[in-house]
């Protein structure tokens, strides 16, 4: 049997899924690391749903975190004031997110892509400020309590049977719920982009007029993508915060949103799985970069860094990077955009899946320009030699 690269991809997928399933015992059931893994999965859902909108329809929403918060606050308030059960409030929160997304989508998506970006960045910041100010309604800066889900005893017993360490600490069930949500939402988005809607998304992105001429309703298609991606963000937020127990408005600040975008772009925003892997990778990197263990001799040389916001902890033997770890990822985001527009992870996946590299717009234009230049030069210098491109390969531009 001939060896094919896709076997490597299958093997890696298997290892990844196994790692996903066995993560809690792999980190020795430490609550802290289970929480880190769970947060990584939460960000992975957000990044991949953001890339559903950005990578497939070319529209940029900077309010993804705001929609996440909107859904969570809606669910929390539905539980507190209306008296719904948590699972009912989850559905209610998702619907409210979708409704707000629908209104904003129809407002902005009739115009060029930049209008959605402009409006959502203003919406996100102002929504956060209002939530912070409405102390009576939302709890203000102290946050809103989100009561946990109640899992029926029969179901608990089933889980306990299959997962022996289910009761080790309360983070284990939370982690598994998040992992299942991650898997299901990724599967859903994958099916969506493989369906005819996915083709609509890309058609509208590549050429609006051509898609409209072929009968695709451009605005509705974009609104669909925007609403679906916002609802997934809301869903992820609600489930995540049911386990965390509290949401604070600072969860929605623009810095977090930038981080989601960095995750999606560095992973590869044209590829849902690339974006998700980027999120997991960056979240763990940030966790590690928070305090870098270094020998004390080296740390003593680095004391000057304290002037610019690092902190050197000689007792623990670590260098705490504080804000500077984010600076690194901001720089990486810009460089990725400039030099590797398909991201850093998704090209590897594409290569393993033996997909042909897509013809890009710039390459197409360059090829056209080259051909034109060749034709021009040949027509002028040597009409007889026309048709032999080797004589002048250098474009005149």
């Amino acid at each position: 049997m001939k060896f094919r690269r896709i076997y490597i991809l299958w093997g890696l997928t298997g290892i990844f899924l196994l790692g996903l399933a066995l993560y809690p015992p792999l980190v020795g059931l430490q609550p802290y690391w289970i929480l880190v893994g769970m947060t990584a999965l939460f960000y992975a859902i957000l990044a991949s749903s953001w890339s559903l909108l950005a990578g497939y329809t070319g529209q940029f929403s900077f309010a993804h975190m705001a929609f996440m918060g909107l859904g969570t606050y809606a669910a929390g308030i539905l539980i507190r004031d209306v008296g719904l059960k948590p699972w009912q409030a989850t559905i209610g929160g998702i619907l409210i997110t979708g409704l707000v997304g629908l209104v904003i989508g129809y407002l902005c998506l009739r115009m060029r892509a930049v209008y959605l970006a402009l409006f959502t960045i203003a919406f996100a910041e102002i929504f956060r400020l209002v939530v912070k100010a409405e102390v009576k309604f939302t709890g203000g800066p102290n946050g809103l309590e989100i009561p946990p889900y109640t899992i029926p005893d029969a179901l608990q017993a089933v889980f306990r049977f299959f997962i022996p360490y289910w009761d080790a600490n309360p983070y284990v069930p939370a982690y598994y719920f998040m992992a299942v949500l991650f898997f299901v939402s990724l599967l859903f988005m994958f099916m969506l982009v493989r369906s005819r809607f996915g083709i609509f998304f890309r058609a509208v992105r590549e050429d609006e007029e051509a898609a409209a001429a072929l009968g695709v309703h451009v605005v509705n298609t974009r609104v669909l993508a925007f609403v679906v991606s916002s609802m997934i963000a809301g869903f992820a937020g609600i489930v995540f915060h049911h386990f965390i127990g509290l949401i604070v408005p600072d969860q929605m600040q623009i810095g977090r949103m930038s981080l989601i975008i960095a995750m999606a772009v560095i992973g590869g925003s044209q590829n849902l799985i690339g974006a998700a892997l980027g999120a997991i990778f960056i979240h763990f990197s940030l966790e590690w970069l928070q305090s870098i263990p270094l020998p004390v001799a080296v740390l003593q040389q680095l004391l000057f860094l304290e002037d610019i916001g690092f902190s050197v902890d000689l007792n623990a033997g670590v260098l705490r990077t504080n804000a500077w770890r984010m600076v690194g990822f901001g720089l990486l985001l810009m460089l990725t955009l400039r030099f590797w527009q398909n991201g850093l992870i998704s090209p590897v996946l594409d290569w393993l899946a033996r997909r042909e590299a897509a013809e890009t717009v710039a390459q197409r234009f360059q090829a056209e320009r080259d051909m034109d230049a060749i034709d021009d030069v040949q027509a002028i210098t040597n009409p007889a030699e026309a048709g032999n491109p080797s004589s002048s390969s250098e474009p005149a531009s």
Binding site: A54, G58, F60, F62, L107, C108, R110, M111, R112, A113, V114, Y115, A117, L118, F119, I121, A122, F123, E125, I126, L129, V130, K132, A133, E134, Q253, I254, G255, S258, L259, I261, A262, V265, I308, G309, F310, N322, A323, W324, M326, V327, G330, L331, L333, M334, L337, R338, Q341, T360, V361, A362, F365, Q366
Partner: protein, 326 residues
């Protein structure tokens, strides 16, 4: 029946007098001039490069921090020097960024240029915010006041050191000072745009790149100049406001949101639009905040009025007041 919301019962109608309204409008115009200055920078960038800079608020933030650092490091330095240095620094950062990241786009080396422009300027804002967070720390800073009014008493107009009284209306001196500097900068900028060769070249490129290139204007140079000037205007706005507001690394986010509201309200790429839009936004915000029933929450709702204007413009007239095309 539905109960009357508390919020309506809270309005104290007796408090609303004509002089109170007048004061709110004056305050709105003062801050509106600075909004106009910022939005003019964004308009310049949009009309020449045809992109919206999402890092505009970060240039505003850097302009403020430069003045703050200079004033606290070198005591007794004239504040105007600080403002000029802030303008230079933001101009340089803008020029370098444009050369490194936006020029490849203008040369056609980047796929999907419009999407790239949104993301890369947003990436710059992310980067600058955290650089300044690393250097300056998260705690609010406030620059010392570096000027004071000469004592004047003309009956109607009286001054104390930091306040100007117009009749019995007190106006914060910091804002007046900022508005005066902003007016000077606006005037200089408009003079530059409409009365110098370079300004004409910028306008030519914004109208037709190819035609401008034919008559010997280098569009790439003009791109760099426009982006750097736009960044500088935002930096100036920050530099004059750092004595008025307290400064944190993410202070630019609401400021840039305001500029976005103004350019959409005035029409993307329209210079009169950004000037008028800034004043309108300033007055609407000031009136809305001043007449808001609950003073404790009024400041938080200051930005909401901008968002409402934004939504109304998008709904009713997406081209804006002076916009040419969609």
């Amino acid at each position: 029946m539905w109960p009357i919301p508390d919020i309506l019962l809270d309005i104290n109608f007796f408090q609303i007098t004509s002089s109170y309204i007048f004061r709110l409008i004056l305050e709105g115009l003062l801050i509106g001039i600075i909004y106009s200055l910022m939005a003019l920078g964004l308009t310049l960038i949009f009309s020449v490069l045809n992109i919206v800079s999402f890092a505009h608020g970060e240039f505003y933030m850097i302009g403020g921090y430069v003045v703050y650092v200079l004033l606290t490091r070198f005591k007794g330095m004239p504040g105007l020097v600080g403002i000029v240095v802030a303008a230079l620094v933001t101009f340089l950062i803008g020029a370098v960024f444009e050369r490194l990241f936006l020029q490849p786009m203008a040369k056609g080396k980047v796929d999907r240029p419009s999407e790239y422009a949104i993301l890369v300027t947003f990436g710059l804002s992310f980067f600058l915010q955290f650089v300044l967070l690393g250097i300056m720390g998260p705690f609010p800073k406030k620059a010392p006041r570096f000027w004071s009014f000469p004592p004047i008493d003309l009956g109607v107009i009286r001054t104390t050191k930091a306040t100007l009284f117009l009749g019995n209306i007190p106006l914060s001196g910091g804002r007046i000072f900022a508005a005066i500097i902003a007016l000077l900068a606006l005037g200089a900028m408009l003079w530059f745009m409409f009365r110098t060769w370079t300004g004409w070249a910028l306008q030519a490129v914004s109208q037709d790149r190819n035609a401008a290139a034919v008559v010997g204007i280098n569009p790439l140079t003009m791109n760099t100049l426009a982006f750097a000037l736009g960044a500088m205007l935002a930096g100036l706005a920050g530099a004059v406001l750092v004595t008025v507001f307290s400064w944190v690394p993410w202070v630019g986010v609401p400021a840039s949101a305001k500029s976005f509201v103004i350019i959409v309200l005035g029409g993307m790429g329209s210079i009169p639009g950004s000037l008028v839009g800034g004043l309108i936004l300033g007055v609407v915000e000031s009136l809305g905040t001043g007449l808001f029933p609950d003073p404790a929450r009024a400041q938080a709702y200051r930005d909401v009025f901008g968002l409402i204007i934004f939504a109304l413009v998008l709904w009713l007239k997406p081209t804006g007041l002076f916009g040419r095309e969609l």
